[in-house]
Symmetry: C2
């Protein structure tokens, strides 16, 4: 008796699969710097916790499948500040940004269909593609041109009769690249010419350090083809809240999403109430301070990375990740070794190996995603520990 093919094929998360090794290391008394996961150490706003504590219901009842309507109103006001106009029926609240991804796939594709995606990309798209039975067709972007998009003909070459849409992520996880208005227009034109959906993951909207962010919803030519994926996880440092949303002006898409949403009943009620309190009352100052903090962290991470002989990266202009090329032959082996065989002053550094962020099998073997989600001095120590680790690892190989 076998499990399913998809059950075997679904990849373990490259961000999470080394966690048992990290737990073992911690049990041995080693402090592990977690640069592997986009888990900010920034405190969740008190507005969130105050709402959690004052949640007044006596019965924790099922909520609306679409999401609480009051919360959706708050989201509408939030988007308006970015020049994006939604009506209540354009939005479905999801269980994290994760569920928004799978809903977008289910509503727009059938098994065997294809989506174009630019690699490296957020690794969990791989898991959802297996669940949805669809193929991710990768187009490789490279650090040499800052992970920006290739010419339109390179993209259109990959379009087949099974292609249903193009996935983009801006600001990007894992590259930190913010797509320019011109790039967004190019994607919109391709989508229009080829009748495709554009599915845009914009959860890092608030994390732009240089340049301007353009939303897929700013592009009138794809008004009916655009699907926005979003989440409060990073914005409010509330990853464990599991509150995201999907939004589109395409009524047919949203009616279909709502039916999928009905099957899973509702997103968590208490956290919607708490997230609403943050959206309604948070100051611009909060976002500005958070942005400044991450900009400094980025600069420290880059500064330390540049000291590692043979390491290479492009300075990212958004999100809180660096896709770095490291001077090791096999990053998977190195990442494990850092947890199982290495320590420096009773510390080690955990990174997310690059291959999990690529669909093309041969790529990413020298790359790692580094999440600069710790305080400046911790980032500095983590990067120095990483540098020493690389040196020792390569010595051992000689």
């Amino acid at each position: 008796m076998n499990i399913s093919v998809r059950g075997r094929r679904v990849p373990a998360s490259p961000i999470r699969k080394l966690v048992p090794l990290a737990i073992d290391a911690e049990r041995r008394g080693i402090k592990v710097y977690h640069l592997n996961i986009g888990q900010p150490d920034i405190e969740t706003p008190p507005l969130f916790w105050e709402a959690i504590k004052s949640y007044g219901a006596k019965v924790l009842a099922y909520g609306n499948s679409q999401g609480d309507l009051d919360y959706i109103d708050s989201l509408i006001r939030y988007y308006r500040r970015y020049g994006i106009d939604f009506e209540p029926e354009d939005i479905v609240v999801t269980v994290g940004g994760s569920e928004a991804i799978v809903f977008s796939m289910l509503a727009t594709s059938d098994p065997g269909d294809e989506f174009i995606i630019f690699e490296p990309f957020y690794t969990n798209y791989n898991g959802y593609a297996v669940m949805a039975g669809v193929k991710l067709v990768p187009i490789t972007t490279s650090p040499e041109n800052g992970y920006h998009l290739p010419a339109p003909e390179v993209i259109e070459e990959k379009i087949t009769e099974r292609t249903r849409g193009i996935f983009i992520c801006t600001p990007n996880n894992p590259t930190g690249t913010v797509l320019t208005r011109e790039e967004m227009e190019m994607i919109a034109d391709i989508a229009e010419r080829n009748e495709l959906f554009v599915i845009s993951d914009e959860v890092y909207r608030e994390f732009v350090y240089e340049g301007n962010y353009t939303s897929v919803m700013h592009l009138p030519q794809v008004r009916d083809r655009a699907i926005l994926l979003d989440s409060v996880s990073k914005r409010f440092s509330a990853c464990g809240a599991r509150i995201g949303n999907i939004a589109s002006k395409n009524g047919e898409v949203m009616r279909s999403v709502l039916k999928f949403a009905q099957a899973r009943l509702c997103p968590p009620s208490v956290e919607q109430y708490a997230a609403k309190n943050v959206f309604d009352n948070i100051s611009d100052e909060y976002y500005r301070k958070m942005r400044d903090e991450y900009r400094r962290r980025r600069d420290v991470a880059i500064e330390e990375l540049e000291k590692i002989p043979g390491a290479f990266c492009r300075k990212p202009s958004g999100a809180f990740y660096i896709m770095a090329t490291l001077p090791v032959d096999d990053i998977e082996d190195f990442a494990r070794w850092m947890l199982t065989d290495f320590s420096y002053n009773q510390t080690t550094t955990m990174i997310a190996p690059g291959p999990g962020f690529y669909a093309t099998e041969t790529l990413g073997k020298k790359e790692a995603r580094i999440a600069y989600v710790l305080r400046e001095e911790e980032i500095r120590s983590a990067m120095r520990t990483l540098a020493i680790g690389i040196e020792r690892y390569n010595e051992g190989k000689r």
Copy 2:
């Protein structure tokens, strides 16, 4: 540009699709008795709310994909009281029982595969079957024999080379039937003979009024074939918490489930903490009182139903639903009419139309699921309003 076939095919929830009509009725000042949805009015235990208020973290961080290990320990202790032995690796915490359903399908089947299911069944299985691209092969059970299972040959007749498993639900939603030990053994034998998984939804474990509940985990012959689906929603009257779990002694299944779980990152953190506090500290008295309360509600609902000329139902021995045959020609039309055209003393009663609980298209047209989740006197009023509604509706048809 079209949405997907599955996006069109996924059914709207029969429990939820009439909600907009109910909201309209309420706006017109009509009190709607919600017998359509399994949303208990029982208060969520103070232990739950106390934990929510005392959750001490400053950062609402990602949790483990498998679920918080402390919470899993509590679950293990809980199952032990029912004579079920799990190890930590046998359990993955899910976002409600809903996610447990889809994980069980994804881990054991591929698109085009089949599961046997006894109808009427919990309607949301239909939605998940569309998501997973699998076919639910229904075997009809009927009120005449208390919705108990047919002879093994009737079941084995439906097994094809694409059959991957048998779904059961005990105590059953929507019929309230508790499967006997003999029925469970029969299913286990069929599964063993035909190399199938047995996927058992036992979220109503605490709601047994007569007879004894047997878990799929009590059957040694399917130790490696059994998958348990569970949820705290009904047990703790915490439907909005979105905390469930899937469990199996089959390591391959659970490793695959864990990879699917990694793709969606983690279940909500705060609610796991709160549910743990309830599991660890709730008294047997709580469960006994809850059971007594629902038994009385059931008896009142049945008493009132029996007064309706032409209505028919079997007294269910578990869960908190009655699948009732009502003297109307078209239950869908009747259920709508109750919300749009009827009121009695400014009240009306909302029911879940039967056809949504069947996979066979012609069935359920005179049936409704009645959830007896309100206080005795409210149930009584709701059922009387229903009786008057039936009378008026049929008068109007003459």
